[in-house]
């Protein structure tokens, strides 16, 4: 696989901008060479009027959808595919509903998998929102459900959510969890 293609793939899958040093390391190329490849890729996207753009932001590089695609993407959010709440998002919603306010880290801990993109999607859908930040390193944001969530679920208040009677986890697990929930 040629360098350009590898670079394109990396900038496509990444969830946050990638610093040029990291690109150089992964591609095993000097930084100058990577910069040339980046410039060429960016120019290529422009010249063939691609729907994607390469941008430098947040100390690194990443592909983004073209600003002119906005009306299409807005329409896309109404499509069944975009509106479908995936199993992962549904799980995140359930965790936030019953453990709010809860941070990304705590959600990932409970589900056993990284949940960032599911949280983002639920935020865009207006079903969850940030509810402040925890003290401590990094000041992680905590999330809660929104009034829209209650409306869409068909309940009037959080107190109306059915209690979690079944499946009480073993005592040690509860303790371990509470440990991770203790802020600070």
């Amino acid at each position: 696989m040629n360098t350009r293609a590898a670079l394109e793939a990396i900038l496509f899958v990444t969830e946050s901008p990638v610093p040029i040093e990291e690109l150089a390391e992964v591609l095993e190329l000097p930084k100058q060479q990577v910069q040339i490849e980046l410039d060429e890729l960016a120019a290529d996207l422009v010249s063939r009027q691609s729907g994607l753009v390469l941008r430098q932001a947040g100390g690194g590089f990443r592909l983004y959808s073209h600003p002119d695609a906005y009306p299409y993407l807005e329409r896309f959010t109404s499509s069944a595919t975009a509106r479908r709440i995936s199993g992962a998002s549904l799980e995140v919603m359930a965790v936030i509903a019953y453990r709010q306010p809860v941070s990304r880290g705590q959600i990932a801990e409970i589900r056993g998998v990284d949940s960032d993109s599911a949280i983002r999607t639920l935020e865009r859908m207006g079903l969850v929102e940030e509810a402040g930040r925890l003290p401590g390193p990094g000041n992680p944001a905590v999330y809660r459900t929104t009034p829209l969530f209650l409306e869409k679920l068909g309940v009037n208040a959080l107190e109306e959510l059915p209690p979690l009677a079944d499946h009480i986890p073993p005592a040690e697990a509860v303790e371990a969890l509470e440990e991770t929930f203790r802020p600070g």
Binding site: A9, F12, V13, E15, Y64, S65, P67, A69, Y70, L73, E74, T77, S78, A82, R83, R84, I85, L90, E91, M93, A94, V95, A97, Y98, I110, R111, G112, V113, S117, R120, T121, R124, M125, G126, L127, L148, F149, K152, L153, G154, V155, E160, L161, P162, P163, L164, A165, D166, H167, I168, P169, P170, E172, A173, V174, L177
Partner: protein, 260 residues
């Protein structure tokens, strides 16, 4: 003899070399497979005695021996006993029919099990292919919010509560590492490596042997390798007390005769 070009069919796609088996049907299939060089019947007598000896071993190790294990054992023993009857023995027709029924049930379960194992191998190939194709997971990257009327929560309050209960229950459940890419080191590779590293007349501590390991799973692999090699008589393992270093001594050839 017929050419033995093709492999045994039962576990065509599953190569199992150790005693790791999942449940009684799996054990039975592995035993059949081990005996089957070509497509030919396996000796029932051998099969039954092997199955029973595994069962003994499991009970000795105090492992969870389910009623399934015992049920299948009972059927096997009955089948074998039947074969050993001298010709002309009076047989009870009801018993005979019941045995046939048990036998057919066992056979159809084995076939079903094999069928699903075979299709699981196809799934594995596709899974591995799909894993090399990585989709983008970050979603929308422009400030676009969903139109609230479009948003639909596909479950009701009760289902959401059920889902939450299951998720929280999972937290306390036994860890399964399936979904992680642990790149688990194989015990076999560890054995190979230990064999080459522990040349003649070397004494070492376990800590020395695993000093290069970065993860505890690697250490675990070496530890299992060590136990296995000790069992084969290739190594002597010694520990003063439970916190003391584990001392390992190479045993030259197991053929050496002690003349004392």
């Amino acid at each position: 003899p017929p050419p033995t070009t093709h492999h045994s069919w039962i576990l065509m796609t599953y190569h199992v070399s150790t005693a790791a088996f999942e449940g009684p049907l799996d054990l039975l299939l592995q035993l059949i497979n081990r005996h089957q060089v070509d497509i030919a019947a396996v000796s029932l007598t051998d099969l039954v005695s092997e199955y029973l000896s595994y069962l003994d071993e499991l009970m000795e190790m105090d492992l969870d021996v389910t009623s399934e294990f015992l049920l299948i054992a009972a059927t096997l023993i009955q089948l074998k006993a039947h074969r050993l009857l001298p010709p002309g023995t009076e047989i009870d027709l009801d018993e005979e029919l019941a045995l046939m029924e048990e036998r057919d049930r066992l056979l159809s379960r084995l076939l079903m099990c094999v069928t699903f194992k075979d299709v699981a191998a196809v799934f594995l190939r596709r899974w591995q292919e799909a894993n090399r194709l990585v989709p983008r997971m970050s979603g929308l990257d422009q400030e676009i919010r969903f139109n609230p009327p479009d948003v639909v929560i596909p479950v009701g309050p009760a289902q959401l509560a059920g889902l939450a209960s299951r998720i929280f229950a999972r937290v306390g459940a036994d860890p399964d590492l399936d979904h992680l890419d642990l790149d688990l080191p194989s015990v076999e590779a560890a054995i190979q490596e230990l064999r080459s590293r522990i040349g003649a007349s070397i004494e070492a501590t376990f800590d020395d042997l695993v000093s290069h390991c970065q993860r505890s799973v690697e250490v675990a692999a070496y530890f299992l390798a060590l136990l296995e090699m000790a069992r084969w008589g290739l190594l002597e393992v010694h520990q003063e007390h439970w916190l003391a270093p584990i001392m390992i001594k190479h045993r030259s050839a197991p053929t050496e005769i002690d003349l004392r």
